[in-house]
């Protein structure tokens, strides 16, 4: 709307300028024009002509010209002043408008920029929260897997220990008192064990190949 007002003012000023120019040209044309072609008869005409020339002599004409020039200059000056005032006003309004518009635009851009920053911040927060959740989930799963692994390993070790307990104890006994165990001392034990398995041994020997 303000642009239209500005254009209207400028058009008005241009029209006023053109009007002054046209008036000045018209006035100049009237003063420097050809003598009247009205045909007057005789001396009356000459007398009138003389009176006219007497009244409108060069000095009077010069006076009129000066007055017209001064008037024209005055009008030009006033209009120039008005034009200058209008221009200043327009410039001021234009500056104000530009300032307002630029401020508005900058505010809008800053709002958009702030909104973009807020969106990006929110996205980053969401991404960080998702990452944290994923890391927590992964850590929890790894913890459970580790606990299961440790439990299985423990059970495996216990099972392995129980399965090989006889070897462990035997190895311990062998290392501890192996040098002190004499076969002669074991003779009764061995004979007793042979006696206990006597029937199976006899049966296998009897049925052997």
């Amino acid at each position: 709307m303000t642009i239209w007002w500005l254009a209207l003012i400028l058009a008005f000023l241009a029209a006023a300028g053109l009007a002054f120019v046209w008036l000045a040209v018209r006035i100049g044309g009237t003063q420097g024009g050809s003598p009247s072609k009205v045909s007057l008869s005789g001396s009356a005409a000459d007398a009138a002509k003389e009176d006219v020339e007497h009244i409108f002599n060069d000095e009077f004409r010069e006076e009129l010209r000066n007055r017209g020039r001064l008037h024209f200059e005055k009008i030009i000056g006033e209009n120039a002043m008005f034009l200058q005032q209008d221009l200043r006003l327009t410039t001021s309004q234009l500056n104000e408008y530009m300032k307002t518009e630029i401020t508005k635009k900058l505010k809008e851009e800053f709002d958009k920029y702030e909104q973009s920053i807020m969106d990006a911040k929110q996205l980053a927060i969401d991404a960080i929260e998702k990452t944290n959740a994923a890391v927590d989930e992964q850590r929890k799963r790894l913890g459970e897997e580790l606990q299961n692994e440790v439990r299985e390993q423990k059970l495996h070790l216990i099972k392995h220990f129980e399965e090989n307990m006889a070897d462990v104890v035997n190895h311990y006994v062998l290392s501890a008192i192996g040098n002190q165990i004499d076969l002669t001392d074991q003779l009764e034990y061995i004979l007793a064990e042979l006696e206990a398995n006597k029937e199976a041994i006899v049966e296998d020997i009897s049925n052997g190949a």
Partner: protein, 166 residues
């Protein structure tokens, strides 16, 4: 197990197949010496029999043999060949190398209770700690302390659990 009357007796010093083969070689050598002496017509008063091993002495003593008679020599060789081919064999593994007296006791028991002609092969298995492993033709009897621990594993576990609880 009762011994048949008049049956060939293996003394306890004859433990395994290696002793049978050693006896056969010794008897061959003795018979060869007697044969050479007969060919040279050496008088019996001058005949000096080579010194025989303790195992052969025990064999002669146990079976009341007169090896100067050829038929008895042939009888012993036939018995030894039969034992070498058909006698049952038992493999015994101990944690250390057993003494001769120990082996004699074991062989005596086996020939009295299992089979009179059984041959024994002695092995070494240091991981046994105590006891022995008996391997017959088709079976193996683990009479070791290790096997005893394995059969008593529930008791060991129970003791360990009681110790952990305490």
């Amino acid at each position: 197990m009762e011994r048949e009357a008049g049956a060939f007796v293996l003394p306890p010093l004859v433990v395994g197949i290696a002793d049978i083969m050693r006896l056969k070689r010794e008897l061959d050598a003795l018979y060869e010496y007697l044969h050479q002496s007969a060919l040279r017509h050496t008088p019996e008063t001058e005949l000096k029999l080579p010194k025989t091993s303790r195992v052969l002495d025990e064999l002669i003593k146990a079976n009341k043999l007169d090896l100067l008679k050829r038929e008895q020599y042939e009888l012993v060789m036939a018995q030894l060949n039969a034992i070498e081919q058909r006698a049952p064999q038992i493999h015994l593994s101990f944690s250390s190398d057993p003494s001769s007296a120990f082996i004699v006791r074991i062989v005596e028991w086996l020939r009295q209770n299992i089979h009179p002609g059984v041959l024994v092969q002695i092995g070494l298995q240091p991981t046994l700690a105590a006891g022995c492993v008996v391997r017959t033709t088709n079976k193996q009897f683990d009479l070791s302390l290790k096997h005893h621990f394995e059969t008593a594993r529930p008791l060991l576990i129970q003791k360990l659990q009681d110790g952990a609880a305490a």
